[in-house]
Amino acid sequence: MNPELLKKFEKVSDVVWELPKTFKHGMRVPARIYGNASIMKDMDDTVVEQITNVACLPGIQKHALCMADGHSGYGFPIGGVAAFDPEDGIISPGGIGFDINCGMRLVKTNLTVDQVRPKIKTLVDMLFKMVPSGVGAQGFVKLTNKQMKDVMVSGARWCVENGYGTQEDLERTEENGMLKHADPSKVTQKALGRGINQLGTLGSGNHYLEIQTIRNGEIFDEKIAKKFGLEEGQVCVMVHCGSRGFGHQVGTDYLTTFTPAMKQYGITVKDAELACAPFRSKEGQDYFKAMACAANLAFANRQVILHQVREAFRHVFKDAELEQVYDVAHNVAKLETYAGKELLVHRKGATRCFGPGNKALPKIYRDTGQPVIVGGSMETGSYLLVGTKKAEQETFGSTMHGAGRTMSRTKAKHQVQGEQLLKDMERRGIYVRTSSFSGVAEEAGFAYKDVSEVAATMEQAGISKPVVALRPLGNVK
């Protein structure tokens, strides 16, 4: 960040930086960025422009927030969180992203790293075959139009009812894998056509399926790790993906609808990607219902992927047991209650992060707080965090979602060849199968911030606490 720009911030604490409303004409609330001095120094200036644009949106409450993994995006920055009064505030697809309910699922196994490492290639090859990835990938579940609409309404529940998972999986998924206000009549035929064959597919970009382990000395909260059923040497599986072409088309359709609707409602925004509509308007409600369809499809997508992961593991390890730890969205807008007031919380590259005692959590996590799954780069590793009460008071129950990029995709691709990177990673004990070598180069570890530093920053802020680190053994992307 430009040092002159950084000087304009008021330091709330060592890890919370605030820009007052006077920073930019039209700001309705101050903007806050989470980061230590080094993260702030490295953050791109566009984050500041984008988060202060968000602070100008009608109905925004308290602060426009950007988490420590933040980087520039379109509309909202990635890592952006904003809550709006549903009565006089807006809903914006640019505060959610085209990949509605892009999210993370973490699964624990009864296997150890010593059992899995000798068979990692067989396992990854099997997963690569059973969980399609890459451009235009199609899944094995063939849906009729009617079934596709059932998935839009019931999400992961549809999958469990059709043999792709367990009741326990649903209990351990945000919203039990089903947003209740979904209405397929608000979705275009085009969106349906784009997504109908994609259930159970990863997509590309930063999406992946990773086999991971917990190294000795990398459990940071023994008590909570035990409650989550996690121990050193254990093998876990992490899945990062979203609503595929279906959600992307819902986003595209409503961006096109909202741009002219803004004129009708007299709303002006500082970035075309912040196109929005009043939440209570017809356009706003239609999008909210269509967005829920896409969110449900994403929950279903990760549920079908888990089914395939279980099948693949049992092909290689007859007695493998895979139990879901949690599934959580990081691109979504939801109605949640804070300090007795219902608000529409937008999270774009930010994870819900409820603290202990929150009634939205399943009983097994009611005392610990919510598991927060954070995907790092495929080279360095990921984290499981737990939410805090302070997050509910300060960040509308939100925290980081990943490491956060520090280098553009094209720059990363110029610095390393995909084939070479895979060879280097294999030498370091990480076996990767991919449908695109250039896509892998874009995801090299050096293109990301240090996920440990980002997680430590959010801990210092009291928003989320690291429970375990998860190190990669094999990756499908």
């Binding site: 520039s72 509309g75 990949d99 056509g193 997509g203 590309s204 992307h248 088309q249 970035d271």
Partner: protein, 142 residues
Amino acid sequence: MSSKKGFRILDNLVMADTAFEATGKDLNELFEHAGLAVESIMAESVKKVITKDVSLEKDTVENLLYAFLSELVYLKDAEQLLFSDIKASASKNSGWALHAHLRGETIHPKMKLGTDVKAITLHQYEVKKGKDGWKATVVVDV
């Protein structure tokens, strides 16, 4: 011209997505080059074995290009089609109309695939007519 291909990927415009600039001596060429830029992000060396015709109408040239590029993204998922040759014909009547003849192939495992394009964004989106022809700046979500 920004390059022989009529488009170039912009290295530093965006962090997590992909941006390109496309040019054309006329509007038809701009549509062709911008379309090929989107296709080039998703795959290399696509053969020309199937054809597809696309017709669109929009109120402005910006909206027409946005709709056309979004249609290419749609066809990649809904019909599993990628293209390497585009002949476009854009015209202005009461609004703007486009007819495009596309040649390409169905996605198959042996293709040299790149990155899946999720959507065309309006972030820094610009379509401009200058002295030397047309230019568009487009950021795609990947």
